[in-house]
């Protein structure tokens, strides 16, 4: 077993990661050891990344212990690059972390500087000057290469960089040269953010953390208006939106809503979120307040220019779609259903209730089983088939109650799809009892009877 990490005190006693546990114990008998938990470390890193989303949406994980943030175009919101770096560091320190950070033109340069010259902000275009004095370890290369550099007397990145390209490539491979180039700021490797970047987003930062739910809702509406402008310019509407609440103490909560059709109307978006927030089983807890609320359009689609006039069919259909979205936001998409016909004559499968938000138009149409003028041939309320007995006389017993039969119509033979299930064919009968109730019963294999539905 080996040490994977040591705290400052242990480092002061000469312990270092990679050391065998036995020799560490020999050096420091009172050493306190805890088993490494990599998944937990990873989760913690992701939590911190979530929190960093409040500074920029471009956050990439760089395990085991670093994060890469692309702050292009975001620094001015925090009063410049130096101020932003200081604030990030200070906020994380307050949460109990030991932080090292640097800001440079490329991710690799920033990472190298963070480890060896924490706090550095490299002026634009001077990455190579900043990185040159760092030890070769800063390039993040494998230990064999680093050792080879050392043996060749190359101690700093700058010294390596001064060697000829061809010479380096021949000796260490193209990968090493590429790493060197990025670290020196000569080449750019884009970072890959953790989440798909939202198409369109708007955010509001608060000088004083806010706690009132009215403020949260008002903010979402305001952000929806900003979002609407961008969406309108692009001729698009949102199908999926997220509101992200950043708590001052580091907690992050994402609330998602979906819409059945591309939407960009601020009032509609605001109302969807209001419903969703009101219906959460686990409400958004402001704690000591939110210092940032962001609205992201995660998925957008082209959106027709709304020409519907008030009261027209199109306007009504749109209102219904909005109602469906609202109800889905509150109760869940799987609870808001619309009926679709299915291409089968098996009664219980002849229709399906599908989530209304995702219901596509089908080419199938509803078809009446009976002819014009005939009473309904399919029941209004359908049961899972329940056994029925015939106690004698013109009567049947269902759920312990005997119904005397006044009228009987049938049989209607319905063949089961034998290639799907081995169920026997059914002979259906419509029965009316003395009180006028109409039942739908079927007989299987000539002997077993079931009640399948009731007519109006």
């Amino acid at each position: 077993m080996r040490l994977t990490a040591v705290d400052r005190k242990a480092a002061g006693l000469g312990l270092a990661p990679g050391m065998a546990l036995a020799s560490a114990r020999a050096m420091v008998p009172a050493l306190k050891v805890m088993a490494a938990n990599e998944p937990a470390d990873q989760r913690l890193l992701e939590k911190i990344a979530d929190w960093c989303d409040g500074f920029t949406p471009f956050v990439a994980l760089d395990p085991p212990d670093s994060l890469l943030l692309d702050v292009t175009g975001a620094a001015h919101l925090f009063g410049g690059e130096q101020a932003m770096l200081d604030r990030l560091g200070a906020d994380l320190k307050r949460q109990g972390f030991t932080v090292a950070g640097a800001l440079a033109g490329t991710a690799l340069a920033a990472r190298a500087l963070a480890r060896y010259r924490s706090g550095t902000v490299v002026p634009q275009g001077t990455d190579s000057d900043a990185v040159a004095p760092l030890p070769v370890d800063a390039l993040g290369l494998d230990p064999i290469t680093v050792h080879a550099f050392r043996r060749a007397g190359l101690k700093t990145v700058g010294q390596v960089a001064r060697r000829g390209r061809a010479e380096l490539t021949a000796r260490f491979g193209a990968g090493m040269v590429a790493a060197l180039d990025t670290a020196m700021g000569h080449a750019e490797v884009p970072i890959s953010p953790r989440r798909p970047l939202p198409d369109v987003r708007a955010e509001n930062r608060f000088a004083e953390p806010v706690t009132a739910s009215e403020t949260m809702l008002a903010t979402i509406k305001l952000l929806a208006q900003q979002l609407a402008k961008t969406l309108e310019e692009r001729g698009e509407g949102a199908r999926a939106l997220q509101a992200v609440f950043f708590r001052a103490d580091g907690g992050v909560r994402r609330i998602a809503v979906e819409t059945g059709a591309p939407t960009r109307e601020p009032a509609i978006i605001a109302r969807l979120f209001r419903n969703k927030l009101a219906a959460l089983a686990d409400p958004v807890d402001p704690g000591f307040g939110f210092d940032l609320i962001r609205l992201e359009a995660e998925r957008t689609e082209p959106c027709q220019v709304e020409t519907a006039t008030l009261g027209s069919d199109a306007a009504r259909a749109k209102d219904i779609r909005f109602l469906v979205d609202r109800l889905a936001a509150r109760f869940g998409a799987h609870r808001v259903l619309s009926f679709q016909p299915r291409d089968t004559h098996i009664p219980e499968n002849a229709f399906a209730a599908v989530p209304a938000q995702y219901a596509e138009n089908t080419r199938l149409v509803w078809e009446k089983v009976g002819a014009m003028g005939e009473p309904p041939r399919r029941p209004l309320r359908l049961f899972s088939p329940e056994p029925v007995s015939f106690p004698g006389g013109e009567a049947f017993r269902w759920r312990g109650v005997v119904h005397k039969v006044r009228h009987l119509e049938g049989p209607e033979r319905i063949a089961m799809a034998w290639w799907q299930s081995p169920a026997p064919d059914r002979d259906y009968f419509r029965l009316e009892d003395e009180e006028g109730r109409r039942f739908w019963l079927y007989r299987e294999q000539g002997v077993r009877w079931f009640l399948h539905g009731m007519f109006a």
């Binding site: 909005f322 259903l337 009926f339 209304a356 006028g436």
Partner: protein
């Protein structure tokens, strides 16, 4: 201020416009429509009770009323209601003449959610009607709840049907009309039975007399028709008999 005051004239015009011609929907049976002052009130709260083990009949009656009203329909059901009283079958609705494409089905865990969803849905004026299917007598359904539904229905012109299954009609409530529905036997002599036949008891009618009719639903034409039996018009308990008679004879 006199009646010719322009403000009054304007106000009158506004009020007349507020109740458009379609505010009442004829059900197709003259005597029943007479008792209802022309038909079922749009944008009102109507409560329909199923007589014991007559859930299917009451469901069919409400479906018929919804066909008469037209427009998109939101049907709110509680989970597990299907086990007891059967799932709502789209094919059956279509056979009755109600296009399932008009219907949005909402399944909610409990009565509280059903009422909350209904209150929200009522603000969608594009809806023709909202059906709230409730089992038993939820405590939440008090006078305040009735009042809230009635106000919401009136404000946006969306008709609300409270479909009450396995519940006793208690007599309280702020509904515009209250009905008790059971199936009625079809005629004896006919070999083939006809459309659904309902025994319809109008127990409460805020703007007219109560009454008791036997109606048949015509699936193809989408109207109610009087079934053979004669209708009995009862005096409404809420109204003086003269008013009730006047309303009935006006039909």
């Amino acid at each position: 201020m006199s009646a010719t005051d322009p403000k009054i004239v304007l106000l009158r015009a506004v009020l007349t416009a507020a109740e458009p011609l379609g505010a009442r929907v004829a059900l197709g049976v003259p005597r029943l429509d007479g008792a209802l002052c022309g038909g079922l009130m749009r944008g009102g709260l109507h409560e329909v009770f199923a007589a014991p083990s007559q859930e299917a009949a009451a469901t069919g009656f409400v479906a018929g009323l919804a066909v008469r009203l037209g427009g998109p329909l939101l049907w709110i059901r509680q989970d597990y209601a299907g086990l007891e009283f059967g799932e709502l079958a789209a094919t059956g609705l279509f056979e009755l003449g109600l296009d399932p494409a008009r219907l949005v089905l909402l399944r909610v865990p409990d009565a509280a959610s059903a009422l909350r969803a209904a209150a929200d849905a009522l603000t969608c004026a594009a809806l023709g009607a909202v059906v709230i299917e409730l089992t038993g007598a939820p405590k939440l359904l008090d006078l305040v709840a009735y009042r809230r539904l009635a106000l919401g229905a009136g404000a946006y012109g969306v008709t609300v049907f409270l479909l009450r299954l396995a519940a006793e009609s208690s007599g309280i409530g702020g509904a515009e009309t209250r009905w008790l529905i059971r199936a009625a036997p079809s005629g004896d002599e006919e070999e083939i039975w006809g459309g659904p036949v309902f025994d319809v008891e109008l127990q409460r009618n805020r703007h007219g007399p109560a009454g008791h009719w036997t109606l048949e639903w015509s699936c193809d034409d989408g109207v109610f028709r009087p079934a053979d039996r004669g209708a009995v018009v009862l005096a409404s308990a809420d109204r003086p008999p003269q008013a009730a008679m006047a309303a009935a004879s006006a039909a």
